[in-house]
């Protein structure tokens, strides 16, 4: 229990020096650290993407060893999924969930500190895994892609052990953060803030956290078995010893497919608060949106093997996975319909967060259509492992996850910093990044369908023109993030005062309590619990 002296210390505001960050138990400080970590990793993961696109600019091998190319493909995915989107979403959760539901902090603040500080350790190990192959006796680079399929992952050098431990640490961090979020949502809401009054962002994170608690341990189990196969003489995934390599694929995708929803749901939550604000209308079908996310959460755990149609499963399970995958389009369609109906006849304005939200609805729908194509078994046998799949999941994850995070940053930056961002620069960033993104990935549908495989360093010169277009788009997309960084730094340093309620439309429907505190919020918010009527 805290003492009176402790309370006095709390009243004095933030501690000074490095200790403020190292030992922080304040949800806003930890949220800020998550967001900064994600931003740093965005540039590292982005650099590997730039390398990939530079290599594919022309057919033939341009720069380094093919193994290094494969390593970059692996690192790009691992960093973007585990180092960027998940920490950024956790940063938003840390910052916003207590503010939205009227809690003074997260339920378990010390656990919150541990959840964050595991991340830099994991990030360092992942970066080391790239360096190790260059050292004497370092062995081969991780060349498996983020799926880490055996037998290749059993044969790879010691860099793979670093990647496995990275995943263990990241998994522990995610599980602890998720536990904290669920406990906060269930136990720390202000009086009167019933579950059905919570902002949709909080609901989205509740489902995300529950999903993570259930599936992250499965990945931990799978990579632990991989570690045992590599070093302790077991044969979990070795047919010669009675194991089965396909089993790893099932374990991986039992985690991997729900993971897609882990990446998507927080952004669905973000646009669920952004669109009503700028349409100045309550969210259309709040209850059905919560229901839609619950169905997505449930069905998302039953569809994993649609990633493995080509391994030769029996007709029964294959049909099951095909039907479930196609049926998932129903809750997704429902969610998108909710957003469109919220905009319908709204009094809309198009600030940067709204532009990103509209782009998400349009471009994520496009990913939904290509997803349906991939769900159909006979068609997928043709599309599998082609650049068409790369185009599909980048259309799902860049708008579906990354653009949602951008929308969130622009939407809440005035609240976090107390300053309005430069709207002109925000819009410039939106158009720059959207054009760059589409230029990169739209052509990949065509050369994918024409037969270009994914994860390959060299390719048929017939695909040269479209690949060059993709690479130019990639560089445009990558460069736009320097502007993003500039806008953030500029807003943090100063600007027009934002006021407590920078968005006039933010009060419609089921608003969070973040608009009842100052901008920026005090170091300790809700010293007396607010009452929601």
């Amino acid at each position: 229990m805290s003492t009176t002296a402790d309370h006095e210390a709390h009243h004095h505001g933030p501690p000074s020096g490095i200790g403020r960050w190292l030992f922080s138990t304040n949800h806003k400080d930890i949220g800020t650290m998550y967001l900064i970590f994600a931003l740093v990793m965005l540039f590292i993961g982005g650099a590997s993407a730039m390398y990939i696109r530079a290599e594919l600019f022309l057919p033939g091998i341009q720069f380094l060893e093919p193994d290094f190319y494969n390593n970059m493909v692996t690192n790009h995915a691992l960093i973007m999924v585990f180092g960027v989107v998940m920490p950024a979403a956790a940063g938003l959760a840390n910052w916003m969930i207590p503010l939205m539901i009227g809690a003074p902090d997260m339920a378990l603040p010390r656990l919150n500190n541990l959840s964050f500080w595991l991340l830099p350790a994991a990030g360092t190990m992942l970066i080391l895994s790239t360096i190790i192959p260059f050292l004497p006796g370092g062995g081969t680079a991780i060349n498996t892609g983020w799926t880490l399929y055996p037998p290749l992952s059993v044969q790879t050098g010691m860099a793979m052990d670093f990647a496995i431990f990275t995943l263990h640490i990241l998994g522990i961090s995610s599980i602890l953060a998720s536990i904290n979020i669920v406990v906060t949502i269930f136990n720390m809401r202000a009086p009167g803030m019933t579950l059905m009054k919570m902002p949709i962002f909080v609901w989205a994170w509740l489902f995300t956290a529950l999903l993570l608690i259930m599936v992250a341990p499965i990945l931990a189990g799978g990579v632990t078995m991989l570690l045992f196969d590599r070093h302790f003489g077991t044969s979990f995934f070795d047919a010669a010893g009675g194991g089965d390599p396909v089993l790893f694929q099932h374990i991986f995708w039992f985690f991997g497919h729900p993971e897609v929803y882990v990446l998507l749901l927080p952004s669905i939550g973000v646009i669920g608060v952004v669109i009503p604000t700028f349409a100045r209308k309550p969210l259309f079908g709040y209850k059905s949106l919560v229901g839609g996310m619950f169905i997505l959460f449930t069905m998302g755990m039953m569809a994993w093997a649609h990633h493995q149609y080509t391994v030769g499963m029996a007709a029964g399970p294959t049909t099951w996975f095909m039907i479930i995958t196609i049926l998932i389009s129903i809750p997704v369609g429902l969610i998108l319909l909710n957003f469109m109906m919220t905009m319908w006849r709204g009094s809309m304005t198009f600030e940067t967060p709204m532009l990103f939200s509209i782009a998400i609805v349009l471009m994520f729908s496009f990913a939904g259509v290509t997803g349906l194509m991939l769900a159909v078994v006979p068609a997928d046998l043709e599309y599998h492992d082609s650049m068409f799949v790369v185009a599909h999941f980048h259309y799902a994850l860049i708008p579906g996850a990354l653009f949602g995070l951008y929308a969130a940053v622009f939407y809440w930056l005035p609240k976090w910093t107390g300053h309005m961002y430069d709207e002109k620069l925000g819009k410039l960033f939106f158009w720059w990044t959207t054009i760059g993104f589409n230029l990169t990935f739209f052509p990949q549908h065509f050369y994918g369908l024409a037969g270009m495989p994914r994860r390959i360093v060299d390719y048929n010169p017939a695909f040269a023109d479209l690949n060059m277009l993709s690479s130019i788009g990639g560089f445009i997309f990558g460069l736009s993030h320097l502007l993003f960084l500039y806008i953030i730094v500029k807003t943090v340093k100063g600007g027009v005062a934002a006021g407590d309620k920078p968005w006039e439309g933010a009060q419609v429907g089921t608003p969070g309590l973040e608009w009842t505190v100052s901008s920026p919020p005090p170091f300790h918010s809700f010293e007396t619990p607010p009452v929601v009527k």
Partner: protein
């Protein structure tokens, strides 16, 4: 001021829910090993 740890009942309840969820995570971790009901495959 209502810090999370100020209210003993709430603090205990927070820990109880967290332990339950942690247990759930450990259960799922172990489940992946239960797939091998005939024992762990040995050296190939």
């Amino acid at each position: 001021m209502q810090y999370p740890n100020d209210d003993e009942a709430k603090s205990k309840s927070n820990v109880r829910i967290a332990l339950f969820l942690g247990g759930l995570a450990i259960f799922f971790f172990l489940t992946s090993f239960l797939l091998f009901k005939d024992g762990i495959p040995g050296p190939g």
